[in-house]
């Protein structure tokens, strides 16, 4: 099972703001060229192999703020990976998050799961009951991620 497919060289981050809808769309396009992926069970870097990483996020401004409490509305499959739709209970604002590859922890994230969003210097961490279920890197975080197996 592999959850990380990063080629930082190929990260193409595009951020745009739609003024009409107050929606911030952050799209990290991944070019999956070459053997740049983590195959598991792979290493003692077990934490990262178990941590799904967001490749694209579409969310209203400020939805991904520190301490936001969201509920999982749906878990679906897409060409790029797994898509979660999350909703903020207080006002119904929604976020769509695409996670790369197969989501190792995805099976445990069921519809109705309550998710807390924590913002920090390298992005956001989504957690359920204290366990990290996804990492959304910002630009600082993207520069810190890369995974390539050199020998087989």
């Amino acid at each position: 099972m592999h959850t990380l497919r990063h080629d930082t060289k190929a990260w193409k981050a595009q951020v745009w703001i739609s003024m009409k809808t107050s929606i911030v769309v952050v799209s990290f396009a991944l070019a999956l060229t070459g053997p740049v992926r983590a195959h598991g069970p792979s290493s003692d870097a077990s934490a990262v192999s178990m941590l799904p990483v967001a490749v694209s996020v579409a969310a209203p401004v400020m939805l991904l703020s520190a301490g936001a409490t969201l509920t999982v509305l749906s878990v679906g499959a897409a060409a790029e990976g797994t898509v979660w739709v999350l909703e903020r209970a207080s006002d119904g604002a929604r976020a769509s998050i695409t996670l790369s590859g197969q989501v190792a922890g995805g099976a445990s994230v069921a519809v109705g799961t309550v998710v807390v969003c924590t913002a920090f210097s390298a992005g956001w961490v989504l957690s359920a009951a204290g366990k990290a279920i996804a990492y959304i890197p910002n630009q600082i975080g993207q520069a810190l991620l890369y995974n390539e197996r050199v020998t087989w």
């Binding site: 290493s43 077990s46 210097s121 390298a122 961490v125 890369y146 197996r149 020998t151």
Partner: protein, 260 residues
Amino acid sequence: MVKAVFTAVALAAALTAAQAGRPCEQQAPEASNVLRSMELAARTQTRLDASGAQVVVLARAGQNLSAYGLRWSHLGWAYRLPGEGNAWRVVHKLNHCGTASAALYRQGLGEFFLDDLYQYEAALVVPTPELQAQLLPLLLDNQRLAQLHTPDYSMVAYPWAQRYQQSNQWAIETLALAMEPGATSRARVQAWLQFKGYQPSTLRIGALTRLGARMTAANVAFDDHPSDKRYSDRIETVTVDSVFSWLGRSGLGGSVQLVR
């Protein structure tokens, strides 16, 4: 006897978890650990950028090894990607989920530290400019990186044998390859390391612990150690602490810098 066996198994478990040999835990990490790991990675990048170095030895503290007098558990070669500003990569050897084999990986600083650390601190040593210049092209070349890699893994591999190879051992053997390109076998780079005064750590590991570890952990083996040392409980292996000490002593590297 039951207690003794339990102790041996517990120590074996600690040994198993030490260095780069974790069992595959199919559970999500603590959110707070992810934050702390990524923040440590970011702080380390800032420190690396400020160092002016192209290549550094980078260590993490994945386990509490204080019982063995050790501070750090695992090291890798971090290098600045040529022509890409301040992006850094770490090349290191990782054990596969507590099995008896390992492989080489090139990772980001994030992945290097996202590993359920014991202490959210890092250590680095900047090699001499000459050593950096010798290492950098090698670190970019997967074939040369793999030249001395032995997949068979024991976390307490004997430094002067070739049956197994642990992570830190691969790193210094590869250093030797960079400095002495003519030394193209593990035996020859080990001779170079001895000539240059590298001294491994000696771990005091008793017979019962050895037995427990061997029975319960696929990534711990003692059969490559000389009998006289093994049966007097002296297990020599390549540790981060011994590598740091040697780099300073030999003039191949500077002093140990902490990233907190």
